[in-house]
């Protein structure tokens, strides 16, 4: 039982660290601001979740686990709000962005042709 918990703790914290670093790599690799913001949201969601869940497993049931849950809840509520405020400010200030396409017309006609990622 103790061993199973230990393994779960290691899996969560190491996994969370790996996802954080992947997000950081994405932040450096992605070509423009909007795509970078997707990379940042990886570290804010799965990276933070796994690390905090791992810590909660170490702490066991109790007030500390509740506080970890509060931190996680706060990250989950504020991070999309912050991300939205940031991209909205960038978009309305006229930062280079792809053209707007109508979602209803595109349905079922999406393809990867001609995208900047294929060049």
């Amino acid at each position: 039982m103790e061993l199973a918990r230990e393994i779960a703790v290691w899996a969560c914290i190491v996994g969370g660290s790996v996802f954080c670093v992947i997000g950081g790599i994405g932040l450096l690799r992605m070509p423009d601001f909007y795509t970078r913001s997707h990379a940042a949201s990886i570290t804010d969601t799965l990276g933070a979740t796994l690390i905090l869940v791992g810590l909660a497993l170490v702490a066991g049931p109790g007030l500390i686990a509740v506080k970890l849950f509060f931190v996680l809840f706060l990250i989950y509520v504020t991070s999309p709000t912050a991300a939205h405020a940031l991209v909205k400010a960038a978009y309305s200030s006229g930062l280079d962005a792809p053209d707007v396409e109508e979602g209803s017309r595109l349905k079922g006609h999406l393809s990867d042709d001609g995208g900047p990622g294929d060049g």
């Binding site: 660290s17 791992g54 990250i75």
Partner: protein, 92 residues
Amino acid sequence: MNVFVVGMIGVLTTMLLALTRAFMGPTVFDRVLAANMFGTKTVLLIAVSGFLTGRPEWLDLALLYALMNFIGMIALLRFSKFQNLASDEQAK
């Protein structure tokens, strides 16, 4: 090796990558994005280091930091948009 040390290394590496992006820019939004990510990682760093040193009470600081990071980013965006923190008038 202690599992918290591994977590610290992961979080610190991410912070370093975010700092790199913050220095590279090129736009102000990239820098704010990187600074915001740096702030979220600070929350995780405080939480992990609290466990590492056997003081989980540090979580209160992490909670506070998460809130301050959010407010700080909104303030920075307002500043970059209006050149002013107090009024809604667009700077001319």
